[in-house]
Amino acid sequence: MQRLEVKNMTKTYEEGGSTITALNKVSMIVEAGELVAIIGPSGSGKSTLLSAVGALLQPTSGSVIVNGKKIEDLKEKELSEFRLNEIGFILQTSNLIPYLNVLDQLLLVKKMAGKVSTVDQQFAKQLLSDLGLEKKYRKFPNELSGGERQRVAIARAFMNDSSVILADEPTASLDSKRAFEVVQLISNEVKKRKKAAIMVTHDERMLTYCDRVYRMEDGVLTLQS
């Protein structure tokens, strides 16, 4: 099943009188249950692509289609709802809320949508124990290791049961052992829950877990291998 499609997307910036092309007619398709990696040097446009797919950025032309919905058709106000329901973000350095415990980090996502039900509680606990955090429900982010924090961030991204998972350098602050673990966990969850996932990374060692690898260079996306 086709979950995510990027069609002919171009993004240009005006900077100091010259035009910079961050994305140049990028097209890609991600199916449910697929983890796709995007690699490339910094400044190549990987993050721009991720932001556009995550409805954080409006492309200059082209479109993103998630579950048959075109992002460019959404109004400003609908974008946050779209992010809440359709996108799960795994952010760099986890970006957890410092004053919420592990369980509340996940329930926050449900709070944004309205009420937290007991089913949501169960689901959150299920996710956390899948990721090996069943003993850390009540811990605050500052009491967790970097790997644990990143696992919480992964659980949070899955919490809204969205169709698309976007991971922005999820292994950036981890040693390679933890990094492997984290990517493996993302891959497992993506397969198990049938998500369409894109992971942006610098780290070429992580690619073994990915179904396909794209390389981004100067705004041009090409399929590798």
Binding site: S47, S51, L56, S80, L84, L91, I97, P98, Y99, L100
Partner: protein, 370 residues
């Protein structure tokens, strides 16, 4: 509420400090309101207590009892008017009294009223005024603290008059002084002892107090002639010093409330800027502006509410240790009113942050903006 409470619980010191500021402001606000209320009671309690709607003064007196002299005979004409339900004579004078065995003289207000009229206050101890006991007076119970008791004969300074306390009343002060109610005749005997002091008006009084549910002052003045009619509120405001005292206190209260608005606005503005990154993350994972706004506003609400409630408790505790003579009188209605005003202003001031929240770009969550 979810985020608001969790965060308060987590950053106790930070929120305790801002709560303390609100506590102090609320505390001061309530004490000032008590003081203001106490002062205005002292200045005009008797007039406030009058079970009446209008006061008739002599023309040109500017609603001041001390400047007004009219003849009691006007009462007959006033009573004939259809809009008047009842009327009563009223006279006021300042005096100093003493009694044997007490060295210190006491300043009092000597008010002349008709025995049995509707403005005669309720007696809490002793008997009512009696026409047949010419020198009988009702005294405010604060005189009890100075050593006066029922049956005491008291000398009025600068005259040969001797009054006799027949009963005590409570909460009756006039012009910041405790009140002695006497008959109109006794009052005249003191106030107009010097020939000509009554401007040659027969049966003179200061004012006539009227009960009426519907009276047009202007046409009423014309009908009676030579008078000036004021509402009870105008009469209270015209009491010497009343407006000035109240104005000062109200000005301080307004300043306090404005200060609290700014303190809270600035505090939460800085906090919001500090938390931009967090808000960015939350926006990236789907929070809309409304969700974040609610979190901030409910936080301000909780903190202000707790601060104000603690302020109320502290105010009532301090009221217990204030000396008895202090004009401090907490009015629960006013406490509730100022409490709500502070709460409302605090919550409104937190809306300054709302703009800041809506400006946060969720892209910051990605750690770099390209």
């Amino acid at each position: 509420m979810f985020l608001a409470l969790k965060e308060i619980k987590h950053a106790k010191l930070r929120y305790t400090m801002i709560t303390m500021i609100i506590v102090l402001i609320a505390w001061l606000t309530f004490i000032l309101s008590g003081l203001g209320n106490g002062l205005s009671t002292l200045s005009a309690a008797t007039i406030k207590n009058l079970n009446a709607n209008y006061v008739v003064y002599g023309e040109g007196s500017g609603a001041k009892f001390s400047k007004s002299l009219i003849s009691a005979s006007l009462k007959e004409k006033i009573d004939l008017q259809s809009e008047v339900e009842d009327s009563a004579l009223f006279g006021s004078a300042m005096a100093a009294v003493s009694k044997e065995g007490i060295n210190e003289k006491t300043d009092i207000a000597l008010l002349g009223i008709e025995a049995g009229s509707f403005i005669e206050p309720k007696v809490i101890e002793g008997k009512k005024l009696d026409k047949n006991i010419k020198n009988g007076v009702l005294a405010n119970n604060s005189l009890q603290d100075k050593g006066y008791a029922i049956g005491d004969e008291i000398k009025v300074d600068s005259s040969t008059i001797v009054l006799k306390i027949v009963g005590f009343v409570e909460n009756e002060t006039y012009n910041h002084l405790p009140v002695l109610f006497s008959t109109v005749e006794q009052w005249r005997a003191y106030q107009f002892a010097a020939p000509g002091a009554n401007n040659g008006i027969e049966d003179v009084v200061n004012a006539i107090v009227i009960q009426s549910s519907n009276l047009d002052a202007e046409s009423f003045n014309k009908k009676i002639g030579g008078i000036e009619t004021a509402t009870k509120n105008q009469a209270i405001n015209a009491m010497p010093g009343y407006m000035e005292e109240n104005g000062t206190i109200v000005m301080m209260l307004v300043f306090l409330i404005v200060i609290s608005a700014f303190v809270i606005a600035v505090f939460f503005y800085v906090l919001t800027i500090q938390k931009s990154q967090q808000f960015g993350v939350m926006k990236a994972i789907g929070a809309n502006n409304g969700f974040l706004t609610k979190a901030i506003v409910s936080q301000v609400f909780v903190i202000s509410l707790v601060g104000i409630l603690i302020g109320v408790v502290l105010t009532y505790l301090t009221a217990l240790v204030f000396p008895a003579g202090m004009p401090f009188n907490l009015n629960p209605t006013l406490v509730v009113l100022y409490g709500f005003a502070l709460l409302l202003i605090s919550v409104l001031s937190s809306f300054v942050c709302v703009r800041q929240v809506s400006k946060v770009d969720p892209l910051t969550a990605l750690g770099r903006v390209e």
